[in-house]
Symmetry: C2
DNA sequence: AAGTGGTCTAGACCACTCT
DNA sequence: GAGTGGTCTAGACCACTTG
């Protein structure tokens, strides 16, 4: 670990250095996703640190939801579960009275010039290009939400190769599969607007609409998506756990 | 630690037993809140376990926000900070355009008979009495939110001794000081209602109102408060971090 | 200098899973 | 039985705070 001590600066604890090395290997998909990663004793041999130090490094990665330990079997790479995702907070009640996730349909995706406010939010330089995406969300075939999404062009350019109808119901799996960006956390602000007329949303002009602004972050806590959603309040349902 | 091993059942790891012992002392206010708790080596002597085991127990209590470690000084009991609390998510924009927390005024508090639905939410037996509390929240002197709050009578009976005007702007400090209940987590559901006429809220009858249902939990993760808030959407602002 | 928590080690034994 | 992670120990040295 001596070279990495030098390259990382002398202040970083050993277990943090080990953590970064493992995290880097995870990002490079060095290990088979269906097999356990090397055991703690193997890793302690590989990095020439004690097993306790490896355990502490892995402990951190488990906290960050990158790894899962299973006693007796090994330590595994966590598979993101988008269908039961923590990212899904709002639902609508359908005609049957069930709370369901609105179906998503992408209407437009294009490369656009930088927008100062958005570039600032996504912590990009003022001259970085963006991807702009329009998407609607439907309940029982009716558009309830209209979403405007901005992404870094550099990170997400491969999304432009997908034709609109090939986008599935969820976007985040595409971010993950195509662009290697796993959305791990987010900040949401809910406010209300009145007199807003949306391109896709068929709302009475005097109706109060919900506006949701989301900044979504990847595993490295870097903001990678900014989203503004305009939604009808009828049958809307938002649920969140606060800790 | 042998007696406690017997009383706790033989399955609980040592560090969990130590954690529970420390947690119990915290609940009984055994230690001065302005002084560090006994050092890790003192605790390892007291409980006859290794220092690593004490460290693991304390680690858990730090994660639960019960303790704070400061290197070189010691481990301290965490003081709840209600004014900058994690519990404050919604704000309103005042006439000056600033986002502020609405001022809270308690209008009514009384002991009431059990309500099956509420008793179920608070995980009480069907015959446990309740405390019912009505409260309004104001911005610039205008009532924007009307809150109905239900609490366990057994846990919160001492609140009945407080006269209405002595309740401060915040309720949770009273829960903590008078009833030893620290609110540590919560679940909130936001929906909308139309045609609801509130006793305190001076809203047009056709106005869409926000309805917030909150279940708030103490440090032991037990639900202790159920709250339904009806609010006007004008200038409303809700913000949450999702992890 | 003394005391605190922070890092790191080496090794023991236990509980669980697979074959 | 062999291999995995889970628990627990005993002791070393470092970094920070206070007197």
């Amino acid at each position: 670990m001596f070279e990495s001590m030098a390259s990382q600066g002398f202040k970083l604890p050993l277990y943090e250095q080990v953590r970064l090395q493992i995290q880097e290997k995870l990002a490079r998909h060095v290990w088979d996703i269906n097999q356990p990663i090397p055991s703690e004793s193997e890793l302690s041999d590989e990095y020439h640190v004690s097993i306790g130090t490896v355990r502490k490094a892995i402990e951190r990665l488990v906290e960050d939801n990158l790894l899962v330990k299973i006693q007796g079997k090994g330590t595994f790479i966590r598979q993101p579960n988008f269908s039961a995702s923590l990212m899904k907070f709002f639902r609508y009640r359908n005609v049957a009275g069930e709370l369901i996730e609105p179906v998503g349909v992408v209407k437009n995706i294009e490369k656009i010039a930088p927008v100062p406010a958005i570039n600032a939010i996504l912590k990009l330089t003022p001259k970085d290009s963006l991807i702009y995406l329009e998407r609607v969300r439907l309940i029982d075939g009716t558009i309830m939400l209209s979403e405007k999404i901005w992404l870094s062009y550099d990170l997400f350019s491969s999304l432009l190769d997908i034709s609109l109808q090939d986008f599935g119901n969820l976007l985040y799996p595409f971010y993950y599969d195509r662009c290697n960006q796993l959305i791990a956390s987010a900040n949401e602000k809910l406010t209300f607007v009145k007199g807003y007329k949306d391109k896709y949303l068929d709302n009475p002009v005097d109706e109060t609409l919900l506006k949701i602004c989301r900044i979504a972050n990847n595993l490295e806590h870097a903001p990678v998506e900014y989203r503004e959603s305009f939604g009808r309040t009828t049958n809307f349902h938002y649920e969140v756990n606060i800790v």
